[in-house]
Symmetry: C2
Subunit: 132 residues, 2 copies
DNA sequence: TCAAACCATCACATAGATGTGAAGGTCAAT
DNA sequence: ATTGACCTTCACATCTATGTGATGGTTTGA
């Protein structure tokens, strides 16, 4: 598919698809006329990139993560340098910290919303926990 | 405490503490001489802010989330406008999406690292799954 | 009293992701 | 053959979080 279709199917500005390419996150082929042509699988890949960007990862790191997602991954074993493995470990841990921060706060928001709704609900209101 | 101590205890540049204040995320008192003075609880609050920023949330959203974290939260029930509740619901869901994206990718990285280590390990190498 | 170490405000710079528009090539359909 | 809808590259603008430095006031200790 060409850039327009990928843009629509991923909800991603064309400009950004070119930017991701420039950052080495995707590598579309070129038609004879110079148009970029994207493999079907790049739909998921772009969505993945967007998700990770939204979660606060920079393109530089995403670039290192993406090869981990390909299966079979045997192919990538050879180019695994020690520095890269160390980076991956750090990022794995950092993502774990992000996950727990998000989970904690998401749960607090959910609790808050539940409490507000219970408070605003009609009928026998569930008592808020007594504060002795 | 003053800004220098808070900066050291949270690993946050003074400049950023002033920026967070400007964005309405924290509201330190002022001493007679104009110096900012921070309550002990702001240490955790600043760390929370940093965690959320790192997870991709903008200060504008963080500002709306923070009041949900205060307990007892009964105080905040009154100022809960419908628009704010709707925003909070959206953000709760968006955070849930972030969490699953991060979890999926973190697990993929962890699997990759495990596979690489198993591959590089001495002794009877665990066979990679056969591809028929 | 002077120096060092704080603090204040203000302004300007950077980096990363993104928006936007100009100038021009390609292609399909009328 | 021309129009409209694609595509290309290039450049410049924007927004947010951050870094850095100038200029000057306050406090503390030698």
């Amino acid at each position: 598919m060409r850039i327009g279709e990928l843009s629509e199917r991923t909800g991603t500005h064309r400009r950004l698809l070119r930017y991701y390419e420039e950052q080495g996150l995707i590598a579309p082929d070129r038609c004879a006329n110079g148009y970029r042509t994207y493999d079907e699988r790049l739909v998921d890949r772009v969505l993945q990139i967007r998700g990770l960007l939204d979660a606060g990862l920079p393109t530089r790191i995403i670039k290192q993560i993406l090869p981990c997602l390909d299966k079979p991954r045997i192919i990538h074993f050879t180019d695994a340098t020690p520095e890269m493995l160390s980076t991956l470990e750090q990022e794995r841990d950092r993502m774990t910290r992000r996950i727990s921060c998000l989970t904690r706060n998401r749960d607090a928001i959910a609790d808050y919303l539940d409490a507000v709704r219970a408070d605003a609900a009609p009928g026998p209101a569930p008592e808020p926990p007594a504060i002795p």
